[in-house]
Symmetry: D2
Subunit: 154 residues, 4 copies
């Protein structure tokens, strides 16, 4: 389904112009040098570091509602969209709207750049006490530029 | 020499908050996985791609003054500072003020992140007809966060 | 109907933080000193001046499609949303999405701050050759923060 | 003294593009309708309202150092520059660097738009317990676009 002018506007405005040329060129260079699986893993490591750096923002959180609220404050501050977190059978569903990921690295890179948010959420839930056996993974088939969907569970 | 409150303010405001956590974490991850020389070279390749993508902005340029002017329009548009380009014996001196490079990747990474602008300027002068034997290199000793100095020549 | 978290996020992110305190305070001060009709007229004059300043962007426009396209380039550049312009019986319908007007001056001030866009569009269509008897007016009942609707006609 | 390219860059980048056309047009319209003294007083009232809205940020402040620190956090958050506050004989000197005021309303309007910061500081010092007989006034002769100087005292 084609995006409306409003959807395109929001997607473009959301992305910092300062880093668009750099990140697009970085994606092109990395794609040429390395396979997608390695890049997804690299980006997951970067995402884990980001969550670790930001951990103070989440340390008093004890419910999913409080987590969602703290996370949305954090994301709004850095212009990274808005998230809905809900309990589902066997785990937690994470719907992340308006992340600048697809716009930054290109739609074609989304299948590996999404590793960044997988690593971020993995580290975040780990800090909150989740067992290491619980994994975050993107629902690749259900992801599109402005709505990235993840599931956290066994 | 310690930076003044105003200099710190300008440095921080200049950097897009959206990508600060990502780029700092990327720098930390890359530094752990790879040596500085390889990273400087990777960033040079990324810079070359950026210059290639932006080449239309410079194709009508035939003097250093016109190059400076086109370049500053381009840089202002993406919030990447302001540049002075002057002829010096044996080449060209490039003083790039207020680039967000040191703030984005950290002061400790500047000795390799600066490869990005080396690659960018190398590609730019190549497009304008410079011989491949002419190289751009950062004057590492004279670089500080808010003033990056390069020389282009043999 | 309550706005979703995503709609609130977009509305808030759209608005420049730099001028939010100033513009909110200006709206409060003006509302105390002056009646709504006078303010709507003041804002219309300000909008006309903006259109006049920007006239170069529209001088080669000869169709509604070309106008829409030039206007959206202009609006995207200054982060003022996106517009759809369509012919309707007796005139032209203008749907302006994601303008920062309601967020800047407050929802309560929208019935007079909207004069800004009325004046802007009035001047714009006048520059393009419309007869002075043709007026732009907001469809107040159909306006909400993120979709402002106008009609241009007799 | 002419501004350097770097100074011009900082001045322009500092100002939100979103409100530049509106605020310039507002200044032109107000200047035509009203005299400078009235406008300076209107802007002082707007500044007072801003300080009142922001008062929570300053309520635990009990020294000039703590005030400077809280104020700079507040200003950095909304991209309004950086301030130095020092005791001088008979009062307090306030040097406000990199405010977007001259860029927003134009250099020609600075002699009345500066009322905004006079009102802001007046209200701020009042909240902190200063006697009403103590007034903030801009040192008009010493003000230039990127350094606005005020004195607070009898």
């Amino acid at each position: 389904m084609a995006a409306t002018p409003l959807e395109n506007y929001i997607r473009e405005q959301q992305m910092s112009l300062q880093w668009l040329p750099f990140l697009r060129a970085l994606a092109a260079e990395l794609s040429e040098q390395t396979d997608a699986e390695t890049l997804r893993s690299l980006f997951a490591s970067v995402g884990q570091r980001c969550a670790l750096e930001a951990r103070e923002a989440f340390e008093d959180v004890s419910t999913l509602g409080a987590l969602t609220s703290s996370l949305n404050d954090f994301l709004a501050h850095i212009h990274w969209g808005v998230v809905e977190i809900t309990e589902v059978p066997g785990g937690v569903a994470i719907d992340h709207h308006a992340a600048p990921l697809a716009e930054a690295f290109g739609d074609d890179a989304l299948h590996w750049s999404i590793g960044f948010l997988e690593g971020f959420y993995q580290s975040l839930f780990g800090q909150l006490g989740a067992a290491p056996s619980m994994r975050v993974h993107a629902l690749d088939e259900d992801c599109e530029a402005m709505l990235l969907r993840f599931q956290f569970g066994r």
